[in-house]
């Protein structure tokens, strides 16, 4: 079968009005069905004719999946709320500004106007071998093309690789982990709530998926508890171009400092591994210490323990070290700025 990466092939389209209808359709068509939110990840696969669902379930018409609601001091964000709505929402700007910053760092304005928070955290990896349709482990095949003597892998993983060295490209995911968000999942068996960091899985557990969603499951909402409202936040994304590009790496942290000492802290890094990494060891190590350069240095060194570079991504090790350092120790602005 000759290969062509253009023009979406025909599929059956459903636009269910409610979550229950969506679940029914997903349950009915199982592996043949594809749940679509903003569609920005979806259309790449379909237009390249690499993934061929018979049925596309468009979630855009389900009102219960949209919107941002205050919820005992925190917020609940419907899964198909667009990134722009998240970025602009006053409550989020006021209490959980790191999420606005992180979401605004993603992609481009038009993509943020359509891309959803649920889609952003659930999107597939951008490993260019995998996305080109090469039959790699993640595609169900028997090799990783990105970790070979000739592979070009500057954007790939330094941690948590297991055969596959792809990374998770989400900018909002580490922010949600830093905010200790809970992901609400509807499965055929009912509702299930998991911690943000437990939503994501590495290749060791399931090499063909980035998260715990099984066919027929649906991420319906993301709940941000009040606990980290108004914390001292740090988000930084390092990328090639300032628009569109996925992170070479990003870091997100939430920190409460009382009487000069770090009291509570959550910190996560993404694009370093196949799933966003919550740096629990770093959190433990810096708790009770002053948030200064020295602590930052220490934290940075601790964060990169066990990192294994590939041929072209050794830079990610100092990058991760420095980002973690900054998140905790802060950044020095140039005198002329």
């Amino acid at each position: 079968m000759a290969v062509i990466h253009d023009v979406m092939p025909a599929f059956e389209l459903f636009q269910p009005p409610t979550i229950d209808d969506a679940l029914r359709l997903l349950g009915q068509y199982r592996a043949d069905a594809w749940a679509m939110a903003g569609g920005l990840d979806t259309f790449d696969w379909l237009k390249d004719r690499i993934k061929r669902p018979k049925v596309v379930v468009d979630l855009s018409q389900i009102n219960e999946l949209r919107g941002i609601r205050e919820q005992n001091g925190g917020v609940e964000i419907g899964a198909t709320t667009t990134l722009t709505e998240v970025v602009r929402h006053p409550l989020i700007r006021e209490k959980f500004s790191i999420l606005s910053t992180g979401a605004e760092a993603a992609a481009s304005p038009q993509i943020r106007n359509q891309g959803t928070i649920g889609g952003n955290v659930s999107q597939d990896t951008r490993c260019w071998y995998y996305r080109a349709g090469w039959p790699c482990y993640r595609a169900g095949g028997n090799t990783c093309f990105a970790d070979t003597p000739t592979a070009i892998n500057r954007e790939h993983a330094i941690l948590g690789a297991d055969r596959c060295v792809a990374v998770n490209p989400s900018d909002s995911a580490p922010c949600l982990i830093a905010l200790d968000a809970k992901f609400v999942i509807r499965t055929p068996k009912g509702e299930r709530v998991v911690n943000a960091e437990d939503y994501f899985i590495g290749p060791g557990i399931d090499i063909t998926r980035m998260n715990i969603l099984q066919p027929g499951d649906l991420l319906t909402a993301i709940r941000i508890p009040a606990d980290w409202a108004g914390a001292q936040f740090y988000f930084e994304k390092v990328r090639d171009r300032n628009v569109w590009d996925f992170p070479l790496m990003n870091v997100a942290s939430a920190m409460f400092v009382t009487s000069g000492k770090i009291d509570r802290i959550r910190i996560a890094v993404n694009a370093a591994a196949a799933h966003p990494l919550r740096l629990a060891a770093v959190e433990d190590a810096v708790r009770g210490k002053e948030p200064n350069a020295a602590t930052g240095e220490m934290a940075g060194k601790l964060a990169i323990q066990g990192a294994r570079p590939l041929r072209f991504n050794a830079y990610k090790i100092p990058l991760m070290r420095n980002l973690v350092k900054r998140a905790i120790g802060g950044v020095e602005k140039p005198a002329w700025a």
Binding site: M1, A2, V3, I4, H5, D6, V7, M8, P9, A10, R49, R126, W128, Y129, A132, F145, T148, P149, T150, A151, I152, R154, E236, V238, R239, D240, R241, N242, V243, W244, D245, F246, L248, F312, N313, A314, Y315, K316, P318, L319, N322, L323, K325, R326, V331, E332, K333, P334, A335, W336, A337
Partner: protein, 842 residues
């Protein structure tokens, strides 16, 4: 300085009414309302759509094609394979020279694909979905053949060849000349060139191996030059491959009507695309109607359209219906052409003041599999012009690889040559303690500067060069002296400033112009130039209006279709247009004035010279009897002959003659070829300045300021000029900050196929305010003094950023372009350059 800048931007205000003034180009209204039609915007009754089947392998032979399942699908109308293409045909250029066809050239479709993405066949169907589904149903039997995507790998002792008959281009054998005809231009030949292991000894130290080169020239005494040098640097640098990535892909639509083929596609020349289409299809130019009102970018990749346009044309004939071929972005990355990477090794001797006493330059060009690109050759010429070395040897080899075909891209070879040399100059200046502007000023060309190899014992020279003025005024405007001494480091931020010289060819000669003064008193101007948005399509004709003295409001410009009787014009590539076509416009204005004077003398007595033309009238000098242009136009029709186009000058191009004949009798028809003398080769120059700020903890950097100060002779249209200077500068910046190709060498396949992989700069990757200015000294060798500007800024844009980076970070960071965050961070961490220096496409 700003006032000086305004003065030049607005041109010498006193002298002209139109030239040097801003105005609204007549094509802009259609553009802002979305009514401007590009190739894919046309529809025709019963239009079919075709899709391409691209080679999945880097090099293979098609053993068998089984399209039965595809053709059996309802809605599939036909298939086209390489066997059905007309054979490559010779062509004849304007001065009658025969250009023999290159049998190794790209033919649009092939049975021996030479790179992944090489089109093998096309299928036409009632809609795109059907066509794409049909492509998937086709069974290909491919025999894999040896392939190579890295030119240096191909030059290894046992390296593979990209083509079955070899891996490098060499000069073809000249056939015996035929009496009375200029010698034919022969295509280059392919041969096999391998270097020895000894040649590769220095490879691992990151030094470009210098084995046997296919081409070489030397000027001056190299050894003496190095002997007298106070400093000798031996540097290797590599520039990236980069796709043209015009925003409009090379989409084409075609149909046949009573024996004529109608083709819609983008082009850089409306007039010159007609013979190209005729040659590709093996038909007469008279049977070609070519429509191209608007083109979504060319940058050298659509000089005369693209050969792939024959696919819808032939399918349209076969299926007897119009065929639209929409080229997808991924297809465009394959067939859309790209700038070749140059591997360069520069051994440069400097006097203690910084003057280049000797330059020994060695270049390897990654050509791709098809027609030879001239980048390596022009690289040598531009470098020798820009730095005026006292002695220079230039050696180069153009290596074939199984990667997409290359073609000229804005400043072909020049951009690479400047990017190769500038970091060396910057390093030398640092080592010698000489100011960066001073060292460039010291080596800069001036007046009729010589350059390039000896041709019959003599070097070529330029018409003029005022880059020294550009450097002086530019450094003042940029406040160079202040900035170079500003603190470079603070906390985790480093700051640097960079300057670069830059130049390229700035114009050609010998083309035609055609216009009519009609009885309504208006001036109707025919433009054969392609519409790329540089606005030279319109701008150059302001010269005709200026000299005939017709207000711009009374000028009508016609362009965009060979059916509209257009004159023979230069292609808008190589920055030719402004120079070449202002000359032609001036010539046609003179022809119009001459004819007006003759008509006046004929009717009102006296000699033609007694009359002058101004304020839409021709009248006796110093006032008195005369007539309006409208009256003169009526008279011209009555008089006929030379006046209304029934008699034409002999020297104009036959394409122009045909158009003029078709337009004859409508008014006073002026038509002329540019036959003005020119002493030297026209080049334009730019002095470029940039400032960057680097984050030492992430390697990310931002360009905080940018200025391009251009020497382009007389300014014709300031705003268009500014757009060109900064636009082309930014194209160069793209090569410094991110644009590249990425290949997996095991499979010989590209992995970077999307914009977020190949990284064309976005609006947030450049300063929000960039600055430009023009010296504004007219070129002495052309009537208006105007030169072109498309190419010259590109090299400067790239090199100024590279130099600013090394100013901020030192010389131990990068060894090739682009310079990205990972390169900077890894090198800072290791304290030495961590880029793989010579591996291609990383």
């Amino acid at each position: 300085m700003s006032d000086a800048k305004n003065a030049t931007k607005n041109g010498p205000a006193t002298k002209y009414k139109l030239i040097g003034k801003n105005y609204v180009t007549p094509d802009l209204y259609a553009k802002v309302t979305g009514r401007s039609k590009y190739a894919e915007d046309y529809r025709a009754d019963g239009m079919l759509f075709c899709k391409l089947l691209l080679s999945p392998m880097p090099h293979a032979r098609v053993r068998k094609i089984d399209a039965s399942a595809a053709l059996a699908m309802p809605g599939v109308k036909g298939i086209l394979t390489a066997d059905e293409l007309p054979p490559p045909a010779d062509s004849i250029n304007d001065n009658g020279t025969v250009i023999l066809a290159n049998k190794r050239g790209d033919r649009g479709l092939t049975m021996e694909p030479l790179y992944q993405g090489d089109p093998i066949l096309a299928v036409a169907a009632v809609d795109e979905v059907t066509a794409a589904d049909a492509i998937e149903k086709i069974k290909l039997d491919l025999e894999p053949l040896p392939f190579v995507v890295d030119p240096l790998v191909s030059l290894r002792p046992n390296g593979p060849n990209a083509r079955l008959d070899g891996n490098v281009w060499v000069r073809g054998q000249q056939p015996p000349p035929q009496p009375g005809r200029p010698p034919a231009v022969v295509p280059p030949e392919v041969t096999t060139l391998k270097w020895t292991d000894a040649d590769f000894a220095e490879y691992n130290e990151g030094k470009l191996p210098m084995g046997k080169a296919t081409d070489e020239w030397t000027v001056g005494d190299l050894d003496a030059g190095f002997k007298n040098a106070a400093l000798v640097l031996d540097e290797t640098f590599v520039t990236p491959n980069s796709s043209h990535q015009t925003l409009e892909t090379r989409t084409a639509m075609a149909y046949w009507q009573n024996g004529k083929v109608f083709v819609h596609t983008g082009t850089q020349s409306t007039s010159q695309t007609v013979p190209a289409i005729a040659r590709w299809l093996g038909i007469s130019p008279d049977d070609v109607v070519f429509i191209s009102e608007y083109t979504g970018g060319g940058f050298g990749s659509k000089i005369t359209g693209a050969i792939t346009l024959i696919i819808p044309a032939l399918l349209a004939k076969k299926c007897n219906a119009p065929v639209m071929m929409r080229i997808s972005r991924e297809e465009e990355n394959f067939i859309g052409r790209g700038r070749p990477s140059l591997h360069g090794r520069m051994k440069v001797g400097f006097s203690k003041e910084g003057r280049i006493t000797a330059l020994d330059m060695f270049v390897v060009c990654d050509n791709g599999p098809y027609d030879q690109v001239g980048d390596a050759a022009s690289c040598g010429r531009i470098v020798s012009l820009l730095y005026q070395p006292e002695a220079m040897r230039f050696r180069y080899t153009t290596v074939l690889t199984n990667t997409p075909p290359r073609s000229p891209q804005s400043s072909p070879g020049g951009m690479q040559g400047i990017a190769l040399m500038e970091p060396v100059i910057a390093k030398a200046a640092r080592k010698l303690g000489v100011d960066q502007v001073t060292i460039r000023h010291l080596n800069a060309p001036e007046g009729k500067a010589k350059f390039g190899p000896l041709i019959n014992g003599k070097q070529q020279y330029v018409t003029s060069a005022f880059i020294k003025e550009a450097l002086e005024r530019g450094s003042e405007m940029f406040k160079w002296d202040e900035r170079k001494n500003q603190p470079k480091r603070s906390g985790t931020t480093a700051r640097g400033v960079g300057v670069s010289s830059s130049c390229y060819v700035g114009g050609s000669i010998g083309f035609d112009a055609l216009c009519i003064i009609k009885p309504d008193g208006k001036l109707y101007i025919q433009s054969g130039i392609g519409n790329l948005g540089t606005e030279s399509l319109i701008d150059v004709h302001r010269v005709a209006a200026e000299f005939i003295g017709v207000p711009w409001e009374k000028c009508e410009i016609t362009w965009g279709s060979s059916a509209k009787n257009l004159p023979w014009a230069c292609p808008s590539g190589g920055s030719q247009t402004t120079h070449a076509m202002t000359r032609a416009a001036h010539a046609v204005a003179m022809d119009a004035i001459k004819k007006l004077q003759m008509i006046a003398a004929h009717d009102l007595g006296g000699k033609p010279d007694d009359y002058e033309v101004a304020n839409e009238r021709v009248f006796r000098k110093g006032g008195g009897a005369g007539m309006s242009l409208a009256q003169a136009a009526k008279r011209a029709i009555q008089l006929g002959g030379i006046y209304d186009g029934h008699e034409l000058p002999k020297d104009i191009n036959k394409f122009t003659a045909a158009s003029a004949t078709a337009l004859a009798g409508q008014g006073l028809l002026a038509v002329a070829k540019d036959t003005y003398p020119r002493d030297g080769v026209t080049h334009s120059y730019v002095a470029t300045f940039a400032e960057v700020e680097v984050d030492l903890e992430t390697g990310q950097y931002k360009i905080t300021d940018f200025l391009a100060y251009a020497d382009v002779g007389t300014v014709i249209h300031p705003r268009a000029l500014g757009g060109q200077i900064l636009g082309r500068s930014t194209l160069g910046i793209g090569h410094a900050i991110g644009q590249k190709w990425v290949y997996d060498q095991h499979y010989g396949l590209p992995v970077a196929k999307r914009f977020h992989h190949t990284k064309p700069p976005t609006i947030l990757d450049i300063p929000q305010k960039m600055d430009w200015a023009a010296v504004g000294i007219p070129d002495p060798e052309t009537p208006i003094g105007a030169r072109g500007i498309g190419e010259p800024p590109v090299g400067g844009g790239c090199a100024a950023i590279l130099n600013a980076l090394s100013d901020a970070l030192g010389d131990e960071i990068f060894r090739r372009a682009p310079v990205t965050a990972d390169v900077i961070l890894a090198s800072l961490e290791a304290g030495r350059p961590m880029q793989e220096p010579l591996t291609a496409h990383i």
